[in-house]
Amino acid sequence: MTAAVVTPYTVPVGMMDALQITILVLVAAGATAVVLVRDRVRQVVVLSVYGILLAVLFLAFQAPDVTLSELTVGAVALPIVLLLALAKVRKKEE
């Protein structure tokens, strides 16, 4: 066990735990919400919000590089791909 390194970015241990537990609960709620929404277009929007929650989760677990990836892919790129696919399918159905 090495001594704790104190940097300007160091957060007290108890606060970090609280943050991690909070975001874990939020992510669980978000994932459930994605499954429960039945309207497809709305589901994509909820999925995008879920992507942002996941990004915060990665930040709270000290993986800022994964946060950046999740923020751009999960909250922006994936919803756009899904929305475009939905638009195409809806046109076929009409």
Binding site: P64, L68, S69, T72, A77, L84
Partner: protein, 252 residues
Amino acid sequence: MTPTQRRWVFLAGVAGLVAFYLWGLLGLPGFGNYPGPYGFVINRVAVAQTNATGVVSAVNFDYRGFDTVGEEFILFAAAAGVATVLRRLRGERERPAVDEAADRNVPPTSGAVRMVALLFTGPLVVVGWWLASHAQANPSGGFQGGVVLASAFILIYLAGEFLVFKRFSPVDVTDAVEAVGAGGFAAVGVAAVGLGLAYLTNFLDKGQFYGSVSSSGTIALISFFVGLEVAAAFIMIIAELLEQTLFIRGGG
């Protein structure tokens, strides 16, 4: 099989899954407990060896560069696959969507959306390049930077229309940039072989100061190429999907 029997088969399966899952959970190391020596070794030597303070980038583009080449070509193959599957098929024709309800009023893009999109396009390009070119100093990298760059082009589509998007990202240019990005990464690796070193050895001068833009040798260079490849691949995928949705109509 009756519904009752079916339910029992299902319940037996679920019970088995739950049992194995819980068993697996019990064998996990404790929360936040890292058992392996490898990460500690990297943490100790990486900055001194590579002059990169973005140790994640040092691992991705140097120590485990070979893995990242594989990932790079997964994305390359995925983009090529999308372009192949979504190409115009025989019997499909290309024409803009015709409004079949002529009396319907299609609202134009709202001023707020245009404003926000235009305001953010420039900063996104800057942030994207910054992320892709500072992988050696920050917890970022070519992948993150590339996707941010691509989303700047999506904003152009949001603010204007598809034709403007196409003018800013012509297919030939996007294809060429993607090829240069993917090929550049592989070529950096081959260059090391040419010097008599192992594939993807970090052979460039690593600079005087750790964490500066010009330091870290091939890590910065590879990150730059990854940024090009990822941005082009994402723009290509989105463009193909947009074209499929807006222009290509079923046969008949």
